[in-house]
Symmetry: C2
Subunit: 329 residues, 2 copies
């Protein structure tokens, strides 16, 4: 990375680390002799499901909010999200004592709305289309002077997510490979830059649902492929790649592999049953690649990012294996 | 405790600690700002759901198996159990390289049988009555020369379970109170003896389902009350108290309180949703007492024993709130 780098730098990641210290959890690793034997590898699960707000998104949102100058911060922050970024941004804004304007589609689950409200976020409902979301956020920003914090296409957010890899390599310096879910690419890009800086020989692999394989196709073609009609239970991974994450992913990620819905559900269930922890479908995606034998990790030390643990306990996928979420625009 | 003590002594607990070191996990504590605020107390959840075989039973079974002389061990061990003790004893015997004969009722769930088989235990099925279980174990012992390891009415088992409290007080020396589930009493008695030895001013409270309140009634009357017709989802707590645990419980436990089925289910769900970990109904019983405001723990440091994490993920209690398990003999 040259000093003229306009992308994600190691310096930005180190600043993020210092900035969010004490404001988010340094999450633990979990291991399992049973899963190690099954994979013939030594697996280290990075428990971002135990992170504040139940997902890694707390890192990026906290870094972004605390990166703002007092003048910028005064008018608050805004975003459109129906997922973990919404709660993470609301929480970070509350920590700093500034308003958070969260645009959500009017069909967002009540539980997600409740989570944002609990952290003091101001919810603005809109029609459930990308166009309505974007125009509503623009209007909110025009009216309030709030700063937009994009869920992934933002260097401050990417730098925050990168801190996961810094912790992982502090705890396991001789790690051979990191498996990370990929949706918008904020986490994968951050982890790739951090991990390759700390240990250039490490492999970083993105894993995504076959039903939302825009990142794998973008990676192969060298150009961002938009995800038009994602069909996956992994609701955190339905978005298309952002430009800023994609630039880092092209440079630093070794491969992106895809996994089936069946493997994602099987992975989630095994993690629940064996590790005794709650992981959401998106967070179970990396381990699904080992179930499918998609990667050669034999006898290696493998870090797997369990990205989050938020889901509706009333409707678990193994109860309705035939169901498939509707296409999302 | 005098030197003529025929019950559970601190010396037995210290020996157990040394004996099981490296053979079972030293389990972590979890905390939650959300649950602390709700309870107006500082809560420390002792994660025995992350223990080997998914429950605290690994401690007692391992101590018992490794307490045997080589001559005793040669013919193996035996027990009757359909729960976590069965898997724990099978695993401990496998570690020592001796046979484990596990008598199970022929209606025991396939998942429980599979768990015992996975650890190399030899399953002997019998009719699902207490009489059939006991006579079958007697026959197995007569035929094999195996040593009976009772799930809770055994000082070696109680000493093993006691090590949970030793760890808890090492991690949080200024703990004010420990809340522990009570079924047969092996864990509660062990924890009470250990905790009161280390910190005489600590309070130790047993918590049990109102639908299996034999321990509370025994505690008040001073005599063991048999549990004839337990009705609770907390399958680990349906047994009656053993005599050896009861002797310690009378001496060292401060109180035993009961909780409703609704609170147990609510507790389990909150632990899943907020802590993002899997706890079985029996392990959710202590926290249920805080939901019910049964205890004054305001501003105190409270240890809660999450005793295990084994349950059938296909049938979660909030899916069928009206259902109640049949009476168990």
């Amino acid at each position: 990375m040259s000093s003229h780098n306009t992308g994600l730098t190691w310096e930005l990641i180190q600043e993020a680390r210092a900035r969010i210290l004490g404001k988010v959890h340094r999450t633990p690793l979990m291991t399992s002799a049973t899963l190690d034997t099954q994979a013939n590898a030594k697996l280290y699960f990075k428990c971002e499901n135990f992170q504040k707000v139940g997902a890694f998104k707390a890192r990026g949102a906290t870094n972004a909010v605390f990166s703002l100058s007092d003048a910028e911060a005064r008018n608050g922050v805004a975003t459109h999200s129906s997922g973990n970024h919404a709660a993470a941004l609301a929480r970070a804004a509350k920590l700093r004592g500034i308003p958070a304007h969260i645009v959500m589609p009017n069909n967002a689950p009540k539980s997600k709305q409740a989570s944002v409200s609990r952290y003091g976020g101001k919810i603005i409902l809109c029609e459930p289309t990308l166009q309505a979301r974007e125009s509503t956020v623009e209007r909110v920003i025009a009216e309030t002077g709030a700063t937009l914090i994009h869920p992934y296409n933002d260097l401050r957010v990417m730098a925050g997510q990168a801190t996961t890899a810094v912790e992982l390599l502090e705890d396991v310096p001789d790690l051979d490979v990191i498996l990370c879910p990929v949706g918008g690419g904020g986490q994968l890009s951050g982890i790739a830059v951090a991990a390759k800086t700390i240990k250039p020989s490490i492999r970083v692999i993105g894993v995504e649902p076959a039903g939302a394989d825009d990142a794998a196709r973008s990676f192969r073609s060298g150009q961002i492929v938009q995800m038009i009609n994602p069909r996956t239970i992994a609701d955190g991974l339905r978005t298309s790649l952002g430009e800023k994450p994609f630039a880092e992913i092209r440079r630093y990620v070794d491969d992106i592999v895809t996994v089936s819905e069946e493997s994602i559900i099987g992975s989630m269930r095994q993690i629940w049953e064996v590790l005794k922890i709650i992981v959401e479908p998106s967070g179970a995606v990396p381990y699904a690649s080992l179930i499918e034998n998609k990667l050669d990790v034999q006898q290696q030390r493998v870090g797997l990012v369990l990205s989050g643990g938020n889901l509706d306990l009333d409707s678990l996928p193994w109860m309705h294996p035939q169901s498939m979420p509707p296409p999302v625009r």
